[in-house]
């Protein structure tokens, strides 16, 4: 069995993110990048599937990133966590979810995985589209916002976190599954695993080799920082608080 996991390099959103003054994008000076936290959850889930598997079937975990050369650092994170192989589709231009989904679809056609695991969204643009696009392009079933994945039934039994509650569905394989926050907690890579990962190869595929002829559907016009309208005042006593909350 082969599991393909997508890995996006994103700014660490626990930092304060600044927008460039001209609104053309975010200020990337001094910006620290991490593996998209939802993708880390997807990697962790693949590792757990492999660790908990009690069949003789060998489970191979391949991680894929689409972007600039610097992506290698985050693919290396996934390798250190325990993925077997990494593929970087190198592309220096800005991409939108549609072009990324088309790119990953091309990788899927080369790799022929049984399961694609992805983060439900990346924390930089919060688009939440690539998984759905990919399933449509491949004409595979999809299970989005997964908070539990088990093998069984038609193939996979997935609990989905929806606004109405937990929805339980079954999908046959191959399928696209996107990970929600509560699916698991990603591990810190172990020392032996980090050392082993240093020797693992990252296969680099130039984007042009995939011969994808699709145009981005999305254009970013401008960005701006949200300005907080909240103001804070110190009150002298409980009575002044009462005046505010019970007019």
């Amino acid at each position: 069995m082969k599991i393909l996991v997508t890995c996006k390099r994103v700014p660490d959103t626990d930092q304060k993110i600044r927008v460039k003054e001209d609104g053309s994008g975010i200020d990337d000076s001094n910006l620290a990048y991490v593996l998209n936290p939802f993708d880390a959850i997807a990697v962790e889930e693949a590792l757990r599937i492999r660790e908990e598997d009690d069949t003789d079937d060998e489970i191979q975990i391949v991680v894929v990133g689409v972007g600039v050369t610097d992506y290698e650092a985050e693919l290396r994170t996934a390798l250190a966590m325990g993925a077997d192989r990494a593929i970087l589709v190198e592309n220096m231009t800005l991409m939108d979810p549609w072009t990324v989904a088309n790119t990953i679809a091309a990788v899927v056609e080369r790799e022929l995985p049984d399961l694609v695991l992805m983060g439900k969204q990346a924390v930089d643009d919060d688009a939440n589209q690539t998984g759905q696009f990919l399933a449509a392009l491949l004409q595979w079933p999809q299970a989005t916002f997964a908070s539990k994945i088990e093998f069984g039934g038609l193939g996979l039994q997935v609990a989905r976190e929806t606004d109405q509650g937990i929805e339980e569905i079954e999908v046959p394989l191959p399928a696209v599954v996107t990970a929600d926050l509560r699916l698991n907690e990603p591990r810190y890579a172990s020392l032996p695993s980090i050392l082993k990962a240093r020797k693992k190869e990252i296969e680099i595929i130039p984007h042009t080799d995939l011969q994808i002829d699709v145009a981005a559907q999305l254009e970013v016009l401008s960005m701006k920082s949200e300005i907080s309208q909240r103001s804070c005042i110190m009150l002298e006593d409980v009575n002044s608080l009462m005046e505010i909350i019970s007019p």
Binding site: D12, D14, Q15, K16, N30, V34, L35, A40, R76, T77, A80, M81, E185, P186, R187, Y188, A189, S190, L191, S193, I194, A197
Partner: protein, 414 residues
């Protein structure tokens, strides 16, 4: 807004908050200026282990007196700060066993409650710890930890009662010097004036010193500890003793039914505080999932607590400590500028040193002297020392200190 005070304290970590509280108790009008939130920075990331028997008899006396101050604070602020779990040192090599034997001898000579424990006794106290390789262990029943958040709230509560003013999100941008004396500071919210200014800016202390072209040999070093989530199969009692395992470079204590395990490794990540964003928030720091120092921590933790693996549910806490070339803080003033005082460089022990340091700082500021023997921590001990003038030299010295912190065998010169 009142802008003139007797004392301006820069930095609202435990060192600044304790100093401000002690000064206000002695009738001074004090303002604390904090770049971020009160108790953030290293204080907000600390584990707060209290091991009273360390180094010299005088440093032990300071820590023991600190406990008395904390017990009084608990009453005044109605919070639990001191958790008396007791503490263990364990040894799995002959060198470390000798270290323990020396420590017990030293402790007994000053009447400190410390005793050897057998392997069986250790196993009974810490059923979740591997003990079959231990050669010796010792136990101090009066050790434990101080809960950092509760200590911070007590300092503020009592400080406020005595009139201390606290300004948050108010970074000091310059120190005003008039006629060779410090007379105030500039901040993003305007100027403040006082004849005494105290630099308790933790990892930022050397940058604040730099505002007056003063060299303060402190360096910022990253530190990690893990906290395991409560696990029904591993009972970690709230009063399980803290453990120091110097051979594996680990310390541990109970926390919310889980276990804190931290490490002073041989290697560490250094920070240049000047290159961090101006609004850098230490509480948002987190380690990469493939950080090799975190992996080393988990690896070593697993040697002592085999149930801790990379699969264990845990929270990783990452913060910055302020190290000095000799592992001791800088307290007091320097010869260059009148009115400027320092209380920084606590090398990962700021929480537990802070109660007495506040008293010492207040003594030095108001009386010019203190009943404690502060030779080892006096701020001017490296002043003008040629080999500690550049950032590169200071960082190298502090880094080396950090590397040997648990690595060196105590009592031997390494």
């Amino acid at each position: 807004m009142k802008t003139s005070f007797d004392v301006i304290v820069i930095g609202a970590g435990v060192a600044g908050l304790s100093t401000a509280m002690q000064l206000a108790k002695r009738g001074q009008s004090v303002v604390v200026l904090e770049r971020e939130q009160l108790g953030n920075g290293s204080t907000g990331r600390a584990a707060g282990l209290l091991g009273q028997l360390r180094g010299t008899a005088e440093s032990t006396r300071m820590l023991m007196d600190g406990v008395e101050i904390v017990l009084d604070l608990e009453k005044q602020a109605d919070v639990e700060i001191y958790v008396q779990t007791g503490s263990l040192r364990i040894a799995e090599t002959p060198e470390r066993a000798q270290e323990i034997a020396d420590l017990v001898t030293m402790g007994n000579s000053i009447g400190f409650d410390i005793e050897h424990l057998t392997q069986t006794e250790v196993a009974a106290k810490l059923p979740y710890m591997k003990t079959d390789d231990l050669l010796d262990a010792c136990y101090c029943s009066t050790d434990g930890h101080l809960q950092p958040a509760e200590l911070v709230s007590a300092y503020i509560k009592v400080g406020r009662k005595h009139g201390v003013q606290y300004h948050t999100n108010c970074a000091v941008t310059n120190v005003i010097i008039t006629g060779g004396k410090a007379t105030g500071v500039e901040t993003e919210a305007g100027q403040f004036h006082a004849p005494v200014i105290v630099n308790t800016a933790g990892p930022w202390s050397y940058l604040v010193a730099g505002m007056t072209d003063t060299v303060l040999p402190t360096a910022a070093i990253c530190h990690h500890y893990l906290t395991t989530r409560p696990d029904d199969s591993i009972k970690v009692d709230r009063f399980s003793p803290a453990v120091r395992n110097r051979h594996l470079r680990l310390y541990t204590r109970p926390e919310s039914d889980g276990l804190i395990v931290g490490m002073y490794g041989e290697e560490a990540t250094e920070y240049d505080m000047e290159s961090l964003p101006r609004d850098f928030d230490m509480s948002a720091m987190k380690a990469r999932l493939d950080d090799i120092l975190v992996a080393t921590l988990v690896y070593n933790a697993n040697q002592r607590f085999p149930w801790i693996t990379e699969r264990t549910a845990m929270t990783m806490t990452t913060g910055i400590m302020t190290f000095t070339p000799d592992g001791k803080p800088f307290c007091g003033k320097l010869p260059d500028i009148e009115g400027l005082f320092y209380g920084a460089g606590f090398c990962g022990h700021g929480i537990v040193q802070s109660p007495t340091i506040g008293v010492i700082m207040a003594d030095l500021i108001l009386e010019g002297e203190t009943q404690y023997d502060i030779a080892a921590i006096e701020a001017d001990r490296y002043f003008d020392m040629p080999e500690l003038q550049t950032r590169a030299d200071i960082k190298a010295a502090a880094y080396q200190m950090h590397a040997g912190y648990y690595g060196n065998i105590e009592g031997s010169k390494q």
